[in-house]
Amino acid sequence: MRERKRKIFNQNYKSNIFLGKGSMVIASIGLLVMLGLLYLSQSNAIALKGYSLSELERQKTELESERDRLQIEATRLQSIQEIQNTQSNTDSNYIPVKKINYLPSTNVAVR
């Protein structure tokens, strides 16, 4: 019974798949088309990535410019001239130091 089944299977197999010259040509063309499509899709994906990358680079440059601008602004606001101007133009409570009182040094331990 088992021997018979195997025979039928072999017969079916041999009759269904036959690789002749035409089949090889069709298979090769199919493979080439598939490879071509794959290449196209990958190239397209890379090109898209390239544009995304350019966009990100542009954003990075813009953010760096903004950072530099803010740094310069922070530096300007900390300049002595700016502090003095702010002090004179606003009702700030800055008072120049006129006298400093120092505690006398002592050998007695302070509890």
Binding site: I46, S54, S65, I72, I80, Q81, I100
Partner: protein, 585 residues
């Protein structure tokens, strides 16, 4: 049949003719191809390269110059880089097309709209656009907000591009010490010139494959030589003290209608320059507006002058160190000494009789320093001048440093040499003078004055300046004696106006005559007032020099130069919380 034969012959002839044409045509094509590919190879390779490749320099970032905040240890830039925008125009593109593809000129409209944003007259802009130039720079250094506004206008033929400018956020502060960077990116004067190579770094280069829109192809070929940024400099200058020095100096120069002035504050132990101010000064952000180029010079370092009586401290140092004189050594001051047929007199034209060396310093007697010279001899005096570093540049990090001039005993006669003891017939620079006083303040060590605390390289490694002494000038014992004599000058002599309540200050005044420009003696209408002081005298933390050139109506330095030294020392003691050393009366 016959006809067919003829037809065949004709046909063959035609075929041959066509073949001949084909052969000739092929040769023409091959010839043309040969011409294009072989003879014009380089030309077309270049064109293709321009289309496929983008290339250019990657500019290196110029190193920044910082000062350290002593209170927070943070760094604050005195010189930094600012990215700004250049707006430029292409007049031939200043048009729009109507529905029939006809060009409508928009130059006038562009000029009108731009003028409101960049503060340039419309007619001036229009005449610029009417010129035949293909490219016209319209305005440099536009700030971000203004550039953005112009960009949003979308004016035809108007473009924006990035440009970088050196920015000095503190304006005139320490300007002569910093110098400036010109439009070519080259450092001029000051630290910008001295360290130009290290600050500039090295530009890189790139070459990358680009697409039709000139955008870099993400995974295309590229060649990259990265740029190396310049090193950052951290100065020994304290911004607050520098500001105070400039304020005091300006007040003094203005008050006495002087030509100019210098103030230096130095740490005597290690040679760190805490402040170095000159007046008048300039704003390096607007260096193009300066008409008098001498303002660019750091005169504290480059200008030589006859020091006058402050130099008596050097003569006395030689006498004390060789033990030829002591503070209480006495001599008979007759008020005049005759040498080589010339008289040497005291500045007051008076004779003081029997006086000691402390009195010589207190009252600044010229005859007293000539007495010291007679005791030590000219050769030893010359050796001490060399030991103190006179006649040689100190090596401070500034270009065009002056060396000054001292004479060997063989070069000038006895009279000339005697005048050197009180600061005539000799020239020096303010930086040399303050260094010599620092040697007395620190116990006899010669230090190298410097402005750089450290350099920070792009790879973050630091190079810290070696601030150890470079030589021994005199013994500590001699410096202690001389310091006491200098304290006496401030307490009892001409330096009273440099006193600071609660602190002992050591110092010496000097009122130097100014040689005439034609070389015929001294100008009676001019003098240079100077004062160098240090304190607290027992343990000096700061040496301060003030030099005021040609103050009007002021005959002596005790009125012009000594007061700002006292005020500066008072400020320094408060700033650094140095407690008083004396009981305040």
């Amino acid at each position: 049949m016959q006809r067919e034969y003829h037809d065949l012959g004709e046909q063959k002839g035609r075929i041959k003719t066509i073949l001949a044409f084909l052969v000739i045509f092929s040769f023409v094509i091959i010839g043309r191809l040969f011409y294009l590919q072989v003879f014009k190879h380089q030309y077309y390779t270049k064109i293709a390269s321009v289309q496929h490749w983008a290339q250019g320099d990657i500019p290196a970032k110029r190193g920044e110059i910082y000062v350290k905040d002593d209170m927070t240890d943070g760094l604050y830039p005195l010189a930094t880089n600012q990215k700004l925008s250049l707006v430029f125009g292409s007049p031939s593109e200043m048009f729009i097309l109507d529905d029939d593809e006809n060009k409508i000129d928009k130059k006038s409209e562009v000029a009108e709209k731009l003028s409101t944003y960049i503060n340039i007259d419309k007619d001036k802009l229009l005449s610029l656009f009417e010129s035949n130039h293909t490219y016209v720079p319209i305005k440099h250094y536009l700030v971000f907000d203004d550039a953005e506004k112009i960009d949003k206008l979308e004016l035809p033929g108007v473009y924006l591009t990035d440009e970088e400018r050196r920015l000095y956020p503190e304006g005139t502060l320490a300007s002569q010490l910093l110098g400036y960077v010109d439009s070519e990116g080259v450092g001029k004067y000051g630290l910008e010139q001295y360290f130009n190579e290290e600050l500039s770094g090295e530009d890189g280069q790139y070459k990358a494959e680009v697409d039709l829109s000139k955008k870099k192809i993400a995974f295309g070929d590229s060649v990259l030589k990265p740029s190396t940024d310049g090193a950052d400099l951290v100065l020994t200058i304290n911004r607050d003290i520098q500001s105070q020095a400039e304020k005091l100096l300006k007040e003094t120069v203005t008050k006495f209608s002087a030509e100019n002035g210098n103030m230096i504050v130095m740490n005597p132990d290690n040679g760190e320059i805490i402040a170095m101010a000159n007046y008048p000064t300039f704003d390096p952000n607007k260096y193009k507006e300066v008409e008098d180029y001498s303002l660019f010079r750091n005169s504290s370092v480059s200008d030589v002058f006859e020091p006058g009586s402050i130099f008596k401290i050097i003569t006395m140092a030689a006498g004390l160190d060789t033990k030829k004189v002591e503070p209480d050594t006495e001599y008979d001051d007759k008020g005049v000494i005759l040498l080589n047929g010339y008289k040497i007199m005291n500045s007051t034209r008076k004779a003081y009789g029997i006086v000691d060396m402390t009195f010589v310093i207190e009252e600044s007697l010229n005859t007293g320093t000539v007495f010291v010279l007679n005791k030590i001899g000219k050769n030893i005096f010359y050796d001490y001048l060399k030991k103190f570093g006179f006649g040689t540049a100190t090596g401070i990090e500034q270009p065009q440093e002056g060396e000054g001039k001292i004479y060997t005993p063989e070069e000038i006669n006895d009279h000339g040499y005697a005048t050197m003891t009180f600061g005539q017939s000799i020239s020096t620079t303010p930086i040399q003078m303050i260094r010599s006083f620092a040697a007395i303040a620190n116990g006899g060590k010669l230090i190298k004055p410097h402005l750089i605390a450290e350099k920070i390289f792009p790879d973050k490694h630091k190079e810290i300046t070696d601030n150890r002494p470079i030589g021994e000038v005199m013994t500590k014992e001699a410096t202690v004696k001389e310091t006491k004599m200098m304290v006496s000058q401030v307490e009892n002599g001409h330096g009273k106006s440099a006193r600071v309540s609660g602190y002992k200050i050591a110092g010496k005044t000097g009122t130097a005559q100014v040689p005439k420009k034609d070389g015929g003696g001294y100008d009676p209408k001019k003098n240079i007032g100077s004062f160098i002081g240090f304190g607290p005298a027992d343990s000096p933390r700061f040496v301060v020099l003030v030099k005021i050139d040609t103050p009007k109506g002021i005959p002596w330095a005790e009125t012009s130069a000594a007061p700002p030294v006292g005020k500066m020392l008072d400020f320094l003691f408060k700033y650094y919380h140095i407690p008083p050393t004396e009981i305040i009366q």
